[in-house]
Symmetry: C2
């Protein structure tokens, strides 16, 4: 089935009644969570990030799980557990993150980023969709299940970190150190978008990431552009000239060796070709005069199957009103590459450095730093939990999910599969255009409600799928 | 004479005694002037700029001149006068500016920019050399002359504006409107540097200026670089790619037609070739690992005889700590061109716009705005006041000034010559490396003292030169 036919929703009555009765309270709790400015990238929000971790742990305990905070050298990891389903039952790990992106530029927000505000059936707040809303709906799903039935059909591990937006530095070491305790049959992550409103999706791929900062240093201080202009190398111009060598005229990345490890996925290309993608809607969502990118490819191919190299930020010299005639002392660019299978962030780091070394001009010093990296991910084909998730989605949304790629990155997905040996299920309740890393981030409140119900039903379906699995038969 | 021989200093005793006796008070007054943060580019300093104008007018009155403030649509013009030298005496106009550059980046300052601080015989403060210190030494020279002798040997017009650092928008219209009142035999400006410590200089050229802001707009808001990356045009990368087309590999400006109006000056090239320029000292002052610029030229040729195109500032997307994976909604560059004779800023504006129009990519909107413009200047050869200034400098510094080009811009110099029909004398008391537009701006206190004395002696020499001029003989 391709999910084009509407089906009858079949949410169990007891769960539906509970979620319906408690909707206002659950929404108020979500808003409390969103009010905590847990911006992991900013030192001044350190206490807020800690507070968000404690808030989440308390909420897990209120739902009926045990919960612990595990300190790291960065932000704490929250670990919740419910393990009374019995030895024959499957164990599932739900992963998400309670940290959020910085809210800047603040001028872009219609309502303040940490004062959740409802407009047109959406809640607007930093972290609403990425990922507090999608994480919290799992907490509420567990609460609903435990409150109505007194138990879960699976053993449940709830793992949430506070460093996803800054590269998940301490998560993978934590998972490695506690691999025995975290052993499970499947990992479920809700940190992605559906294909379109009313069209839930299971993801078949994610792109990886290599995030760099490039610093160009010239004069010891900003110089008078009359006294020195024309006789020293301008760091801002040097940076622009280097960045301009990162792509060719066709929009392909021109860093030698950049594509060497790219493995083409026929499956992803087929998905990209088959889905009824609304290019004009996507253009309007992005708010751009025209779409662009690598020549000769469709938008979905560009997003799912091809790596990128983007400038995320530029800063140099005088940026205020009017003019100031300086040659800047330094210039900075944030540059990040989205990677596809099998690109290795460490190899991309080497390639980018070698390229910068070749193209950098005399007269300035250039430093390249890799701030974060993670590999791309392809779903392991034919896993039983995909079917379980499809049935859960069909029961709650009245429509089977589409299977599709995604241009984003969740660096730990590959680590989970490698360390825990369990397949990862990416079942997101966001929507395209929710401004995940931009001002006016929002989450559809209807999808928050349906997501809770899907997560509650999912554990029944996982239990049933597990009963049919070869592992159980042994 | 090329000024290489030391000569005896011959400052008149009465003047020397006065300046010596009042040195501490005059320095304290200079520091009061420097404490006023008259940053013309910033709306929040509007009242400070006004206060600086009033302070200067009061100081002119205290010296014995009349003084008026003339309101403009921007910042006020200060006009001081002393006209009792008699009809047979020459009239001289002293011009300068009481506004200053913004102090940012504040982190670069050793002591606060508006708290004048003395270290190693230098006063550190924003505006110390550009131009408050050099303007104020003229006020004190007039005070010294009037206090000791009761009169000046010339009729004196003192004209100071508060918008030099933002393009002198209202000065030229003011000069045009009051051309009759401002009519004079020579204009004297001290807003430039000497060739080296102990080597005063008269300028023979200035570069012009065309200052632009380039804004690139793409998405309506910052976009998630995973969700959209590869399928929309990145405004920051588009800006970098456009800026990279502004020069060729040899460091020449590659904007078609940019050099069409450049007139080569054999005189300037000769001066650049003859002066004993310290390249290594210049490199150390600039604090750069190596000098650079247009291929095949010396540093002085690059600075005095060639136009430039520099990036003065860049801003786009996320510029804080760590990483934020956005495609920026917009990107901005401040770009300014230093011009040489006969380049016309309006023509450069047309050339730059046409070039940007050619190279700008689809998928973004680009806006180019000319923020300020002014033509380059070449000294009219063989004017009598050059000789007068040479004698004044020889008397006070014990050395004749060198005649040299300058890479900076004083846009109104050409306007003065055109409107008032009087030659301009550029006699500066700054030094190379005084950080005019950068943090830790300073002025040599010895040059402040010698500059006062030079300005006081200058009026005697101008009077004497005037006596020998053909105009007087008529």
């Amino acid at each position: 089935m391709d999910g084009r036919e509407d089906m009858t929703r079949t949410i169990p009555e007891d769960l539906e009644a509970f979620f319906d009765a408690h909707a206002a309270r659950m929404r108020a709790e979500l808003f409390d969570f969103l009010r905590i400015p847990s911006v992991s990238a900013r030192a001044e929000h350190r206490a807020d990030v800690e507070r968000a971790a404690e808030w989440l742990a308390a909420s897990l305990r209120a739902a009926g799980l045990t919960a612990e905070l595990h300190a790291t050298a960065g932000h704490p990891i929250v670990l919740g557990e419910w393990r009374q389903a019995g030895a024959g039952s499957p164990t599932v790990l739900v992963y998400g993150h309670y940290d959020v992106q910085p809210a800047e530029p603040l001028a872009g927000w219609t309502s303040p980023p940490f004062e959740p505000t409802v407009r047109d059936g959406r809640v607007y707040a930093r972290g609403a969709t990425d990922d507090k809303g999608q994480l919290f709906l799992h907490v509420k799903a567990l609460e609903g299940h435990l409150a109505t039935r007194g138990e879960l059909p699976v053993n449940l591990i709830f793992l949430a970190e506070g460093e996803e937006e800054t590269g998940s530095e301490h998560l993978t070491p934590f998972v490695e150190r506690h691999a025995e305790r975290l052993r499970c049959d499947a990992v479920v992550i809700s940190d992605s978008a559906m294909f379109a409103p009313g069209r839930p999706a299971l993801l078949s791929s994610l792109r990886g990431m290599a995030y760099f900062q490039i610093d160009v240093e010239g004069p010891a201080t900003d110089l008078h552009s009359g006294t020195y202009g024309g006789a020293v190398v301008n760091p801002a111009m040097a940076l622009a000239r280097m960045l301009a060598t990162f792509h060719d005229a066709e929009g392909r990345v021109a860093i030698p060796g950049f594509y060497d490890q790219v493995r083409e996925s026929a499956e992803l290309r087929r998905q990209a070709a088959e889905l009824p993608f609304d290019e004009e809607g996507f253009r309007q969502e992005a708010g751009v005069p025209a779409l662009g990118g690598e020549a000769g490819l469709t938008t979905l191919e560009r997003l799912w199957t091809r790596p990128t190299c983007e400038v995320n930020g530029l800063l140099s010299g005088y940026t205020g009103d009017g003019g100031k005639t300086v040659i800047p002392a330094r210039a900075m660019a944030k540059v990040s590459c989205r990677l596809v299978a099998e690109q290795d962030p460490a190899e991309i780091d080497r390639r980018l450095r070698a390229h910068v070394e070749r193209v950098k001009p005399e007269g300035v010093r250039v430093e390249v730093r890799l701030l974060a990296g993670g590999r791309a991910w392809l779903a392991s084909p034919g896993n039983l939990y995909f079917e379980a998730a499809s049935r859960a989605v069909a029961a709650t949304f009245g429509r089977e999910p589409v299977v599709m790629g995604d241009g984003g990155s969740i660096p730990v997905v590959g680590d989970f599969e490698r360390i825990l040996g369990a397949p990862v299920l990416l079942l997101g309740f966001g929507l395209p255009g929710e401004n995940a890393h931009a001002p006016d981030e929002w989450l559809s409140l209807e999808n928050f409600e349906l997501g809770m119900r899907t997560a509650a039903v999912l554990w029944e379906e996982v239990r049933a799928a597990h009963g049919r699995s070869p592992r159980e038969a042994q």
